[in-house]
Symmetry: C2
Subunit: 203 residues, 2 copies
């Protein structure tokens, strides 16, 4: 049994806040062992006492930030790594084909979206083909805006690309634009037939 209440008490006595969401100790130990280091070696590298390292690894203390900093320096990793790493990247060795016209349809009043490779969930990019039904800026109630960056390529027809901080610009087949999606943006067809575009969003 642990001789001190420390962490257990800290979280248990505070019901409306979640329990340690990541096992810092386990993680640190993992990294240390991967590199084949002893506590003594890490101690020398980080300047943290051997005993302290032991306690951290066994979750007997909640290390101060200063200590975490040293730890990061000594283990040669950046901070996010320490925490993020746990979640494996979901794409590992994966591939997902979407045949022409067989994406997941998402129609709206102004755009007719076809979501590509919808079977993979947590990916970095979301690609979709869109048929632009809208002909007028006024068909939109307000600017479209969302997190992330967006790439647009005109596949067929021609469009006008409106954006919050720039003049409207005409884009024809093969033209592309890359922009900050938090800036308001709207696309309308200019050609007789509805234009088709490819959109790729990344957060």
């Amino acid at each position: 049994m642990v001789s001190r209440p420390s962490l257990e008490t800290a979280t248990a006595s505070d019901p409306d806040h979640f329990v340690e969401p990541l096992e810092l100790g386990k993680r640190v130990k993992e990294i240390r062992l991967t590199k084949g280091w002893t506590l003594e070696e890490v101690s020398k590298r980080t300047g943290i006492a051997r005993s302290t390292l032991s306690k951290i690894e066994n979750d007997q203390v909640s290390p101060s930030f200063a200590i975490v900093q040293k730890l990061i320096g000594g283990l040669g990793m950046d901070l996010p790594q320490l925490f993020v790493e746990a979640q494996e990247h979901s794409m590992a060795g994966r591939r997902d084909i979407t045949r022409s016209g067989e994406g997941e349809p998402h129609p709206t009043a102004t755009y007719e979206h076809e979501l590509l490779s919808y079977s993979i969930s947590r990916k970095k990019m979301v690609p979709f083909k869109t048929i632009v039904r809208a002909r007028n800026f006024s068909e939109f109630k307000e600017w479209v805006r969302h997190d992330g960056e967006e790439f647009l390529l005109v596949l067929s027809g021609s469009v006008v690309f409106y954006s919050e901080f720039y003049e409207p610009v005409e884009l024809n087949e093969g033209d592309s634009v890359y922009y900050d999606a938090t800036m308001g943006h709207i696309v309308v067809s200019l050609s007789p037939e509805d234009a088709q575009i490819l959109w790729v969003v990344a957060r």
Copy 2:
């Protein structure tokens, strides 16, 4: 003057370890003010004493990890955000148009790349059009592989998409594939004329 030596001493007396690389306090205060909260409100949300919050914001203490956890929960953010965020997103309100055929050319033996929107440097995605000159798998010395995820759309012609863990697959105009780019991948033209594809990479 600060009544306790705490942080200053901790770092200064330990020459071979860097000084607090991120201004945690400044950052926390920033977030709090953005949300228009008082210390008291954050205190209620996080269960951390008002006085402690004040000290953290003024870098008078190096908060323990347990406290940082609570803070994150209460401010409604995930851990990496706390640290990473500092680096401004370079795209803020920006837009970059590339006209058809006017991208930055990058020819190789097997692929003829045309880098789109090359004027923006640190963006999340790198889009480029590629004319696939290669006709045979054997023209490549080894698998192409790199960090990140990749989206491929066939713009014209048809290709065969080879990948390390899957059978080769034929892709025709309009077909697309989304895959883990760390998995070896190679594309060759199948149609009489060289196929043209769009590639978008995200790290």
